[in-house]
């Protein structure tokens, strides 16, 4: 057959972005967060990250082999899932728990739906949600930074919600607090996020609308009742809001493809986070807010489909 006359389906215009390129790019953008987590949690951080990445890659390969598909662990998506999962888990989590979480993330979260590009929910967050429901006590055991023995300490959000204790902003910004492995250091997340946006591996609409909505809503609540609700800066710097907004909510598979849809997605996440943080029994709500918005992404895509040129409304 003449190669010049091949008829293929769209897209016809290609650019340099490929799936492995984007995935490894995301992995590189996580380097500052990885470094900061190793500084604060030392050997615990290395152990958790190695466990998650290795078990994600192995389960991806094993399930692809079982399904009779080509083994595509070189595209880096399993590595990114493993790294992101490690980032949202408590540093002192036992190894076997992290392995279960990784198997669920890849197996139930991704391969069950048909593999990369078909999953409805963010695999790393699904793995964490499963662990959260299966082992709630292990998932709420936090380690204070710079201590290798499991000295438990509440997260800044927990301290604020249950004891009305405020953590200094500088600690929140640099990451010198208890919390999930990668969520504590706002500075490192912002550096990684900057790389992500400069390289155009992730869109800016979702993080921007997510963060702005959460700040406005959080600030308004603080203005109404400062003694109960923390201010906007605290909301932004504490918990997993920045990590979630920049690395989780921007997952190209599970977030809307249209521009309007991305605004809706970010605003919805922002509202849900503040609602969960302010009125639910949980101190943190980033995971559930993103998973819930993942769930309505197909609907958002359908209703924000752009009008074709010349088509009537």
């Amino acid at each position: 057959m003449n190669k010049d006359l091949t008829v293929s389906s769209s897209p016809h215009m290609l650019n340099k972005l490929t799936v492995p390129g984007v995935m490894w790019g995301v992995a590189i953008s996580l380097v500052p967060v990885v470094i900061s987590s190793v500084i604060f949690f030392n050997i615990l951080a290395i152990r958790l990250m190695l466990t998650c990445v290795l078990s994600c890659v192995i389960s991806e390969a094993a399930i692809q082999k079982l399904r009779g598909k080509k083994i595509a662990i070189k595209d880096g998506s399993a590595v990114v899932t493993g790294l992101l999962l490690a980032m949202v888990l408590p540093p002192a989590l036992p190894v076997w728990t992290a392995v279960i979480g990784s198997i669920v993330a890849i197996g139930l979260g991704k391969q069950l739906f048909g593999g990369l590009g078909y999953n409805i929910f963010n695999p790393a967050l699904l793995g964490r949600a499963f662990l959260m429901a299966a082992f709630p006590t292990l998932l709420t055991k936090w380690t204070s930074p710079f201590t290798l023995d499991a000295v438990t300490q509440a997260t800044p959000l927990g301290l604020m919600k249950f004891s009305q204790i405020k953590t200094p902003y500088m600690d929140l910004f640099l990451g010198n607090t208890a919390g999930s492995l990668g969520e504590t250091a706002a500075l490192a997340i912002l550096i990684g996020g900057g790389y992500l946006f400069i390289k155009r591996y992730a869109g800016w609409r979702i993080p921007l609308s997510f963060i702005v909505t959460a700040s406005i809503l959080g600030g308004a609540l603080h203005a109404v009742n400062p003694s109960v609700f923390p201010n906007a800066a605290f909301h932004l710097l504490s918990g997993g809001l920045l990590l979630g907004a920049i690395f989780m909510a921007t997952d190209p598979v599970t977030s809307p493809v249209t521009k309007k849809g991305r605004w809706i997605f970010g605003i919805g996440c922002g509202i849900l986070v503040i609602v969960i943080r302010s009125w639910s029994g949980l101190p943190e709500g980033v995971m559930y807010s993103i998973l819930l918005m993942n769930g309505i992404t197909p609907l958002v895509n359908r209703y924000t489909k752009p009008r074709r040129f010349g088509a009537k409304r």
């Binding site: 139930l108 499963f130 299966a134 292990l138």
Partner: protein, 197 residues
């Protein structure tokens, strides 16, 4: 003889009410936190299904078509009441654990479905064979589902501790979410076997 056997066996494997027809999901998901609850629920359903299928089949010529569903429901409700009171009197603990799901057998789609699709069109003996097969299939599915959930959620099956102290209970398996995940995976495995066999 062959037809009777065929009527009986199809409910266990080829047309398993839970794994293939996906009927009776409400009790299958709600009461299967422990294997013993799954078994009790299954036995209650076997009793109600067999008795009501027999009666429906016996009276199939006399039940007017226009009011047949109401009549079936009345017949089923009678046997459900018997089963419910029997459990309450003899096994109060299990009756309490099963909660409203025993009275809810009245609206169980398997029973109404068998009455409408099979018992009202076939002879009493065939109807009973079909009901026993469907009931056993339902019980089998519930016991498998409940055993998996109990094993992961409490480390035991039928109250016999199988996993040692090293096992940390998976709380999610006792929760409704665990029921949906387990059922989904079991239906998947079932389909895999069916496709191969």
């Amino acid at each position: 003889m062959r037809t009777f056997y065929g009527d009986f066996i199809k409910g266990i494997w080829r047309e398993n009410p839970v794994f293939v027809i996906l009927l009776g999901m409400c009790p299958a998901l709600a009461v299967t936190t422990k294997a013993i609850f799954g078994l009790s629920m299954g036995c209650a359903v076997i009793f109600v299904l067999t008795s009501s299928s027999l009666i429906v089949s016996l009276f199939r010529k006399f039940i007017p078509t226009q009011v047949r569903i109401a009549t079936y429901t009345m017949i089923i409700a009678t046997f459900v009441t018997i089963a419910d009171y029997f459990l309450k009197a003899r096994f109060p603990a299990i009756s309490k654990a099963l909660g409203p799901y025993v009275p809810l057998i009245v609206v169980n789609c398997i029973i109404l479905g068998r009455a409408e699709a099979f018992a009202s069109k076939h002879t009493p003996v065939r109807a009973v064979c079909d009901a026993l097969g469907m009931g056993l299939g339902f019980t089998l599915a519930l016991v498998i589902l409940a055993s998996v959930r109990e094993l992961f959620g409490s480390g035991s099956i039928f109250g016999v501790q199988l996993l040692g102290a090293w096992h940390r209970p998976w709380v999610i398996m006792i929760l409704p979410a665990g029921a949906f995940i387990t059922l989904g995976l079991l239906v998947g495995i079932f389909n895999l076997f069916k496709r191969k066999g």
